[in-house]
């Protein structure tokens, strides 16, 4: 059973479109995250959610809107996609905020390509 799953795995779309990436965790964790790995391979936090509440928004454009319908799901909706949004997006979860000793569980990633 996959602990943290994301759909879709690949997403190719044109500039200006709106798209969503879904994330689900079956670990019973309270905290979920979205990370972005850009073309330079930096892996950066975008959002942190704890018990369905937004805790951190790391200077992400407001075209990105996370939504947590319940503790097991954290979806990422992106409006008016731009070329610079092309990246791999990782969802993650942890038992506690930050992950205690730093242990978070990552999904397999969604590779978004904007043309």
């Amino acid at each position: 059973d996959t602990a943290v799953s994301q759909t879709p795995k690949y997403l190719v779309t044109q500039m200006g479109n709106d798209k969503s990436i879904k994330c689900e965790q079956n670990l019973g964790h309270d905290t979920m995250y979205w990370y972005k790995q850009d073309s330079k391979k930096f892996l950066k936090i975008m959002f942190s959610y704890n018990n369905k509440e937004l805790i951190i928004n790391e200077t992400v454009p407001n075209r990105f809107s996370p939504k947590s319908p319940d503790k097991a799901h954290l979806n990422l909706h992106i409006n008016s996609l731009e070329l610079g949004d092309s990246a791999v997006y990782f969802c993650a979860s942890s038992l506690t905020m930050g992950g205690g000793q730093g242990k978070q569980y990552f999904g397999p990633g969604t590779r978004l390509t904007v043309t």
Binding site: V4, Y33, Y35, K40, K41, F42, L43, K44, I45, S48, I55, I56, E58, F90, A92, M97, G98, G99, G100, Q101, G102, K103, Q104, Y105, F106, G107, P108, G109
Partner: protein, 110 residues
């Protein structure tokens, strides 16, 4: 600003030898320092962490060393195996999320 820096983008080591991956950080306030491993087309996986009050933590072939005065973290893998070939991310736990370095790609050759 980058709180965690990995200055070596790649490292090649022979099977059986020691692999040493290095990391520097800027802020001394973090409670935990950690290493994640990432294979292509997969998400990062937790490898090992160390509390800021310790200077060494071991888990099997993996040992992490923390030098607080130098603000330096290193990961030792002994002996290195071909299956260890991956990208290794050094990171810190800010309490809200993880902040990672740019990663070091390790290649272990037979």
């Amino acid at each position: 600003d980058q709180q965690v820096k990995q200055n070596s983008p790649s490292l090649s080591v022979q099977e059986g030898r020691i692999s040493i991956l290095n990391c520097d950080y800027t802020n001394s306030m973090f409670d935990y320092f950690l290493w994640y491993k990432k294979y292509p087309a997969e998400g990062p996986t937790f490898l090992i962490s160390i509390s800021s009050i310790k200077d060494k933590n071991e888990d099997g072939r993996f040992t992490v060393f923390l030098n607080k005065s130098a603000k330096h973290l290193s990961l030792h893998i002994v002996p290195s195996q071909p299956g260890d070939s991956a990208v290794y991310f050094c990171g810190v736990n800010s309490g809200y999320a993880l902040n990672f370095g740019k990663g070091t790609s390790l290649l272990v050759t037979p």
